[in-house]
Symmetry: D2
Subunit: 417 residues, 4 copies
């Protein structure tokens, strides 16, 4: 069949993408179903069975966990990545890896069309499609939820169920949770449905990657994380295991932090598309590693360098959130972050306990930036206190002018607000 009617569809096995799969076939397309394994909890064999049963030519499942951790998650750690000061970007980080793999699958199986089941109001459509267009602009895109012929036909869940019944699409017997979720190594996200009321707390059973802090163990877990060039390379759990591979380390930390209720965020955020939405996220390992990395930078990065990388990391986060991973600006920003991490080596001791992560201590033997003797209030070795007088006097020149001008204007600074 001509590649013009061959579609590579991002297929999850759920009702939405199953409907799309069948609908595409009914519209005359051949469908290569694609599912990326980015660490989500999933019965992959079941998904494959279902895709084939629905008529997919083939089901391609790729394990992308390793590149997800190495290329995206650990880069985010180096960047101290965060969006609007709270969201750790779990979904945003997975999308580039998935989208890129899907383009490769399309190439391999001669598909000229890519398709996904994202809604028209969300960020994910943007992230997938910008990545696809950057990777190969010659591929066509079918986004059914933005096509009137599709969204007018399927106006609610009932329409999907009816179509499923008519087309022998198996539907899970467990009732759907009244919200949607997206799971990967970095986090699980929860949104829409009953979560769209931001003044209602998220139900206790929403969270899947973290236990409720109230149900967490009564004894804290202590561990240390070792970094090389800003990348976690070793996890040592007090009284327990030592883990070194990047993926294994990240999974072990997900387990430890998740068990202790660490990593939940519940926010109203600004989608790229201009809307505000409420999102709940649990990112156990990411939360812990971001904090550890930030702490280590305190020991190993010059203060001005930190100010610069803080701005750069912020821009990187913005890029990722907005689906601009495959962009010249992300590449530029990332080059800068990686460069800054050349000497970010050291170890951070931490504790997780009932919903909170704490830094207890840290060491960076290769760095000379922190000097106990120099910092010490108890000695003047190598420091001339008189220098501080000159430093202050010169810094004051501008401020004295400011104070003098205020007096001139009849608003002396001593007066207060």
């Amino acid at each position: 069949m001509s590649s013009d009617k061959r579609v590579c569809l991002a297929y999850s096995g759920g009702l939405d993408t199953s409907t799309i799969l069948k609908w595409l076939i009914l519209e005359g397309y051949t469908v290569v179903a694609f599912l990326a394994d980015v660490g989500q909890i999933e019965d992959f064999a079941e998904v494959e069975k279902k895709a084939l049963a629905l008529g997919a030519e083939r089901m391609v499942i790729e394990n992308l966990q390793q590149e997800f951790v190495d290329e995206l998650i650990f880069r985010a750690i180096q960047c101290n990545a965060v969006y609007e000061e709270r969201y750790l970007l779990g979904t945003s980080l997975a999308r580039p890896v998935i989208a890129r793999a899907q383009v490769r699958v399309a190439h391999k199986y001669n598909c000229k069309i890519l398709s996904h089941g994202c809604t028209g109001k969300g960020n994910d459509q943007v992230r997938f499609e910008l990545a696809w267009k950057a990777c190969d602009p010659s591929l066509q895109i079918i986004a059914p939820w933005r096509m009137p012929s599709f969204f007018n036909r399927f106006q609610g869940r009932q329409d999907l169920l009816k179509f499923a019944a008519e087309n022998n699409i198996p539907v899970s017997s467990t009732p759907k949770a009244p919200w949607s979720q997206d799971d990967n190594l970095a986090h699980c996200s929860y949104e829409s449905g009953i979560l769209e009321k931001p003044d209602m707390p998220a139900p206790k059973n929403v969270w899947t990657r973290t236990v409720d802090p109230l149900d967490a163990p009564d004894v804290p877990t202590k561990f240390s994380v070792t970094f090389q060039e800003g990348i976690p390379v070793k996890l040592e759990v007090e009284g327990g295991e030592t883990v070194t591979g990047s993926l294994e380390l990240f999974k072990a930390l997900n387990d430890i932090a998740g068990r202790n209720g660490v990593g939940r965020v519940d926010i109203v955020e600004s989608r790229f598309i201009g809307l505000k939405s409420r999102g709940c996220y649990d990112s156990p390992a990411l939360t812990v590693l971001r904090l550890a990395h930030l702490d280590l930078e305190g020991m190993t990065l010059d203060s001005k360098v930190r100010q610069i990388t803080s701005w750069v990391g912020n821009q990187w986060s913005q890029c990722l959130y907005n689906g601009m991973y495959f962009s010249p600006e992300r590449e530029l920003l990332e080059n800068s972050i990686v460069y800054s991490q050349k000497h970010v080596h050291g170890k951070v001791d931490m504790m997780v306990y009932k919903g909170a992560a704490h830094v207890l201590a840290r060491s960076a033997p290769e760095s000379i930036l922190y000097s106990e003797e120099q910092a010490s209030m108890d000695t003047l070795e190598g420091f001339s206190p008189e220098d501080a007088s000159g430093f202050i006097s010169i810094q004051a020149i501008r401020l004295e002018k400011y104070g003098a001008a205020k007096i001139q204007q009849g608003e002396p600074l001593t007066r207060g607000a």
Copy 2:
């Protein structure tokens, strides 16, 4: 006596400033001792008694708590102020209020000289003196810890104790903690001494404003904070009190969060003076209010406005940390933050529990930025999904060029790192 020999000394009652007080007198100065009440735990009557016993002409104690909360702490909340992404600036916030009051006291009691007991390696000397110079550059400053005649004479605690014994300076019978601390409404800080080893956890008994999370109550405390123009105006504790005055509200939150072990930070930070140092801070109410405010901004501030105020608040924090409160740039930045808060009204529901603060829900009835209907994935009311296609296509123009150039350069984006 000529005002040229009259000194207004920041006096705390401790060994250092008691030594300085006596030393100044021995050097022929008349001393007006000054102590600001910024909410620290202190026996003020005892301090006064001691100052007078040591020969101070008078002891002036001023309660600045109200202006501290209103002008500094709540402004910091509006700014989401934080230094190096972790330190909430407790000490930095108190200094301008104290320094300004001390200048007023100097004016009132005809002192031409100001003095303090800060070391020559720290931030506080800078903060005090820049504030003093901005408020009144005609005042002289005596900073004994930067004067060789003083610091060569008093090279360690033993020298101070010897001087105290010789000069009838009463010394506390309780042994000094092996670190120093600075207490005010916003936080208590702990540094130097044994804390100068950043690879050693802070001892359990360091913290004064927060209980150990492990010892915190087994039942969480829930409450809500209401904001008007980004300023907290009401605290409602579940099953408890409602507090409305700014100072009372802040104190009540300090109590609630402190009891639940919330607000500890242990970092290595970059002093303005170029050194790295380790600081431990517990800021219970500040921690909770910063989080609540940030959350409410998610509901009430436009995304681009947030990006701008995030940068502005960062600059404001830098100013405060560096002792540049009385500066034209702080005034400019603050004007911008205050302007941005015009519509930051709403309520945030929170929970504190064993060391962590959690946002549970929030509402902002006067804001139209969040719209449940618009955000909803379940309806297309007022939204044309097709628009997103155009949005994505236009955004992709740059990225397609990027991808094409990569292919031209033999590094197709599909390849990965």
Copy 3:
């Protein structure tokens, strides 16, 4: 007639908008033609005659020059506004004023639809429509150059001329210049047609607001501009007139600078829409006033304040270029700039000559920031040179660590690149 079929069209009298006017009528609409007088060279009576002849219900021409100068142009001066470091935003500045007035006209004449003749590739469609949607989102928009029924029918100038002939649309007898231009008080822009070859110099006869520098007078013109709060309030021409009204002053400077060939820019810029395009602009008065204002800020603004306002002005420029004038971020940024200008009073002496503007001198008697005595290398009055030693030593602490680390890494700084 129902307001649903009443269109308010931005009408210039040219071939494009004449075609659109007639086409709208043929499509069954009633058309209120609107033309803003923002200082362009135009035979307004002729435009009105033509609109009515083509069947417009009425022609509304509004003189917006005063608000254009006061609200936009002089604000841009305060912001030192510039896009991509070269373009002075002439067109971007006019759009908000025009768009807002057009909405008012639509309201007045009961039109529910707005229309314009902008192409689908440019910035102006974005600027008009974002402004319209912010001012009144209930109004519909007809953008013919983005409608297939229109752009497929009119694929080139020949199609427009054919339609004109068939519909009695008068066509100018002078042949159209092989580029397009947009004229207003702030500048005239030239783009497309033969200018789309960026490697070909713009023809000598492109420019309308400036003479060729080679043809400019052999004698320079000297003048001074006086500012109050960053706003030009007086122009004094050496040996000539004194002008004070904002509009008159701006026009007089357009004349002086234009006569001397000052204000041409020829660039390749990044359109908001993601494309690169070549634009030529001549902005005589804007060029001179931006330079004068920048110079005066050197005398009257604190250095840190300048760093902040430089960033803010940059963001403001970006907003304007992208059509985001009616946005919360522009309002926030502008508030900050206006605040910063409270003390920007003074006078700048300038010279224009054969294509260049030069600052010769400046004075700001009300400012104390510049002090001849303090700056003087010939006196130490009020300055302790020893302070600089301490200042340098403290600043060096970080740098010495950097140098020491380099030696440790085997890359001593003395070695060079």
Copy 4:
């Protein structure tokens, strides 16, 4: 002699450093005089003769022109470096090269002390000493103009002349210009003396590297500059020579632009030390190359990349001005700029004429960012105008909320200011 009494002095041959040289010898030091040839107009043999006559152990003159151009000047071009939007940093660029070489000379001739003749109020003392301390903090520094024993003795030019007469220091017979100047390849600066009155135009005879625009040739000079990775690699003069070596190219452009009066700047700037001062600078080649480079970036850099590098270049400029060349932040920023220039290849056609530099055209055949077809208003090839509708609608979501809120608040946007 012990290296502890061996000083390496930055020696220019002028009255100040000659006095310092002799004074050092009288104080018991052995002096190695050092002079860097960074392209200034100087009789180097004469300087050497004078140094030796005054008693210097040796005179070391090093030609640093090549590394000055390659490491600093051309990096500044890549950064579009500029301070306070006007000053092209000529002096700031030379200092790191000179300071580093002086440390090498000190090492070679076993000097443990460095010395200079900079005043205590200026930027240059900071630049020299920060560089020295970063390169080798073990070296001592003697800064006579900050030593009371020196500056109290030499309170004015008369004291220096008297000392010269007493010590057989030859004094130039030509009267000293009533201002000071610093000359190097990048520019010549003029400040202090009569220039300290910013309301008085600089005298006609101040400028040395540019002719008065009024005296410049009546015929413009046209040329093109070719860049590779943002570095100028070829100069082609219309009807004239072709130059390719970096140093030769820069010198040739200095000549061309200088002859045509291009590159003068007269400003009041903010010194690092907190004072405002007036500086006049003529930087012919730097002015032309900065403009050319900026123009080429318009063709070859993505818009978002430009926004980032604009900020980065700004920070780099700040570093350089403040003497922070040898700093971790400068290294980080520079790495980013260099990375961004990977594809900045192309040619810019320019004209200089009577004080102004004009870009006439440019080409970048290897870049695909600018596409005549895509940019063209005359064709829709590869562009769907309908996409722009979606793009605008999505962008408008935020703005419509803003407009609606304004109506709610009784301040509709249609009303105007």
